[in-house]
């Protein structure tokens, strides 16, 4: 079945006439995603991507006209929180926010509103999700994937591509790859995604790619130990050499005192039955060692 995105996904791209939005909407369409609408206020009635996608002034309009059920947001940081609120208000229940650099406090009420509405926000500052062979939403290059039965969840962008490429090269395909985003305040956590994979009949093994900062990996490890004891699980944690107190690119990647260290995450994951790789290239071998035969 895959999770979050699939053949059934009807996607609206918010910010489709911008440089990033346009470029990636075209790549999504080319991958086979049903990109049914774009939204840019003031450009309603026009079309995008060489006439292939209608543009609307509002998400409400796009939903009414096209039945869009998933949104992908490329709106600049200043307008992105409002874009998320617009999507949820229009009835969209799966929202990917690719935008980077949103002030963290702006996301506090937005994330609460998403929860209150029973919707799901992935990101912000995330690369999106791909269900290989079905659909991709976001910016992960389609070329790294292969259809298969391993679920991948990551906080990173290019590191995810690296890990997925290594799997694909080794003949191990993916059910869905999800990037949850590198910001401190994000809508969907590792544990949330693991819970979705746990319910997915087409996911037989898991790869978790974490990094320093916060304790989302430790929490996910706890959840997995309880609910995913019998499934092959491997992980990679970036930032073993990162110094304390410095933000390593991602707003959320910072070790504060003794909390958020790579070692703490590796220990928690190993205690929960994950095999933790020393390099992304080892992930395929570790999956096999963990008993994954797909």
């Amino acid at each position: 079945m895959s999770i979050l995105v699939g053949r059934h996904t009807r996607l609206v791209v918010q910010g489709i006439t911008g440089r990033e939005g346009g470029f990636h909407a075209a790549a999504m369409l080319e991958y086979g995603t049903l990109v049914v609408a774009g939204v840019t206020p003031g450009k309603g009635g026009q079309t995008a991507l060489d006439g292939r996608v209608p543009v609307f002034d509002s998400v409400h309009r796009a939903v009414a006209e096209t039945g869009a059920d998933t949104s992908c947001i490329f709106v600049p940081a200043a307008g992105a929180p409002d874009a998320v609120m617009e999507a949820v208000d229009a009835g969209i229940r799966t929202i990917f926010c690719i935008t980077e650099g949103i002030p963290a406090l702006d996301m506090v009420p937005v994330v609460q509103a998403i929860r209150d509405a029973g919707a799901r926000l992935i990101g912000p500052n995330c690369p999106g999700a791909t269900s290989p062979g079905q659909a991709k939403v976001g910016i992960i290059p389609g070329s790294v994937h292969r259809e298969g039965r391993v679920g991948v969840v990551s906080r990173s962008g290019t590191l995810t591509y690296e890990a997925v490429q290594a799997m694909t090269d080794a003949g191990i395909g993916q059910s869905t790859c999800v990037g949850i985003g590198g910001d401190p305040i994000i809508g969907t956590t590792f544990s949330d995604i693991l819970a979705l994979f746990a319910e997915d009949a087409e996911t037989d093994a898991l790869v978790l790619i974490g990094e320093i900062g916060g304790d989302a990996e430790e929490q996910a490890a706890g959840w997995a130990a309880e609910h995913l004891a019998d499934i092959p699980k491997v992980a990679f944690i970036a930032g073993r050499t990162a110094p304390e107190g410095k933000r390593m690119g991602h707003a959320g990647a910072i070790i504060s005192g003794a909390s958020g260290t790579a070692q703490s995450k590796v220990d928690a994951l190993e205690a929960a039955g994950f095999r933790v790789a020393g390099s992304p290239t080892e992930l395929p071998t570790l999956l096999r060692d963990a008993g994954y035969a797909g």
């Binding site: 990033e20 470029f23 940081a77 200043a78 650099g101 949103i102 002030p103 963290a104 406090l105 702006d106 996301m107 506090v108 009420p109 994330v111 609460q112 690369p127 910016i139 992960i140 290059p141 070329s143 790294v144 990551s154 906080r155 990173s156 962008g157 290019t158 590191l159 995810t160 591509y161 690296e162 490429q165 590198g182 401190p184 305040i185 990094e211 320093i212 916060g214 304790d215 989302a216 929490q219 990679f236 970036a238 930032g239 073993r240 050499t241 990162a242 110094p243 410095k246 933000r247 390593m248 690119g249 991602h250 707003a251 959320g252 990647a253 003794a258 020393g278 390099s279 992304p280 290239t281």
Partner: protein, 393 residues
């Protein structure tokens, strides 16, 4: 972005919080004058505090008391110019020494797990909260602010009562709400008062017992870098004394750069991959010289700027370039590298790995220009370590 104690206190004062007066001095003479004013106003002693953006000032000898103007000048003279965790002290804060009755701890932080503002309070003030959390976790009280409405009165009251503020609970409520307002007004990640203290006013030994007050004796504020664009006034609080010239260059070029102690310069696209590249250099037996993320969609000029940043560190004796093209086009990076190498003054061995978008064209360009290339990430790290003479040192 971290800001100095004196600037943090100004932000609190602007929100109406009780912060005893202070002055900032850049020379021992200025410190003497500030001390004279404080002593003339009735203070028995003054406190002189190094203004540096690192913790542990007290332990390092950067916080001292003085009882006279002469002593203040001498103490300030010793603190100014001292190095605290590699940062040279260039200014000191001078204030009347408080007559402390009891110390507390109060802070507002962004709680990533709960995705709300979290207030932490404790009657164990004046020591690092991390230590309290380990030694006596029950001594810390936690209270989340409402995600829509901020810290509500009843929430602040629960916090104040749990902190055992006694007759000062109303002041505690006002201060707790003020911390959250400060956080929201300036997009701070952290606002910390340690110690928050009950002090006797009117000078020590006045002994009338009536003049007790709850005040913020120290202040630490960290600002959200992502929000600085909408607070141009806060940019002025960036301390040029503590910003390395390369940090400034990186910031202006839009490159995420953190200098480390090793010998292998790293240029990578994406934060997670940049950290991974550092980790693999270490694993291969080398030491990374830096974290560097050129960001998505970087073009030739950014690649050249990144190269300058890396080569500005004289310890760098090998460079590892690792690009996984998505938004970033491999051929653009390759062209940037070729151009940068033709301009660079110092010849340092370089290992380049470019995969993803337009990698074929990148490979062709790099081969023509006789660059050392690598296929896998592990191979690239091993080659860079082999090329670095300082790896074993």
């Amino acid at each position: 972005m971290k800001i100095q104690e004196a600037d943090a206190k100004s932000l609190l004062l602007a929100q109406g919080l009780p912060v005893p007066g202070w002055e900032v001095a850049r020379t021992a003479t200025e410190a003497r004058a500030a001390a004279e004013r404080a002593l003339a106003a009735g203070a028995e002693q003054v406190v002189i505090k190094a203004q540096v953006l690192v913790g542990g000032r007290g332990k390092a000898g950067g916080v001292k008391l003085a009882s006279s103007a002469d002593e203040a000048e001498a103490v300030a003279g010793r603190i100014l110019g001292m190095d605290i965790k590699d940062i040279t002290v260039r200014k000191v804060l001078v204030a009347a020494a408080a007559d402390i009755v009891k110390e507390y701890y109060l802070s507002a932080v962004l709680d990533r797990s709960a995705r709300r503002i979290l207030l932490m309070g404790s009657a164990e003030g004046g020591v690092e909260i991390e230590q309290v959390a380990v030694a006596t976790p029950e001594a810390i009280t936690y209270q989340h602010a409402d995600p829509y409405l901020g810290l509500l009165d009843h929430q602040a009251r629960r916090l104040a009562f749990a902190m055992d503020l006694g007759p000062h609970w109303k002041a505690g409520v006002a201060i707790a709400k003020g911390l959250v307002r400060t956080m929201q007004a300036h997009d701070a990640d952290l606002v910390e008062i340690n110690p928050l203290a009950v002090v006797r006013e009117g000078g020590a030994g006045s002994g009338d017992g009536s003049g007790e007050r709850l005040v913020c004796l120290d202040a630490k504020v960290t600002l959200d870098d992502s929000a600085l664009a909408r607070h141009p006034e806060l940019e002025a609080l960036r301390d040029p004394d503590e910003e390395d010239p390369t940090d400034q260059l990186a910031r202006e070029a839009g490159i995420s750069f953190i200098k480390l102690d090793g010998t292998i310069g790293c240029m990578v696209n994406g934060a997670g991959l940049a950290m991974t590249t550092m980790d693999l250099v270490k694993r291969a037996g080398g030491e990374p010289a830096n974290f560097l993320d050129i960001g998505g969609g970087a073009r030739a000029d950014k690649v050249a700027a990144a190269m300058r940043l890396i080569l500005a560190d004289p310890k760098v004796d090998a460079i590892l370039v690792n690009i996984f093209g998505g938004i970033t086009r491999g051929d653009e990076v390759a062209r940037g590298l070729i151009e940068a190498r033709s301009l660079q003054e110092r010849d340092v061995p370089m290992v380049v790995r470019i995969v993803g978008t337009n990698f074929e064209e990148a490979a062709r360009l790099l081969q023509e220009a006789a660059f050392e290339t690598a296929g896998s990430l592990d191979e690239a790290a091993a080659k860079a370590v082999a090329a670095s003479g300082g790896a074993a040192a």
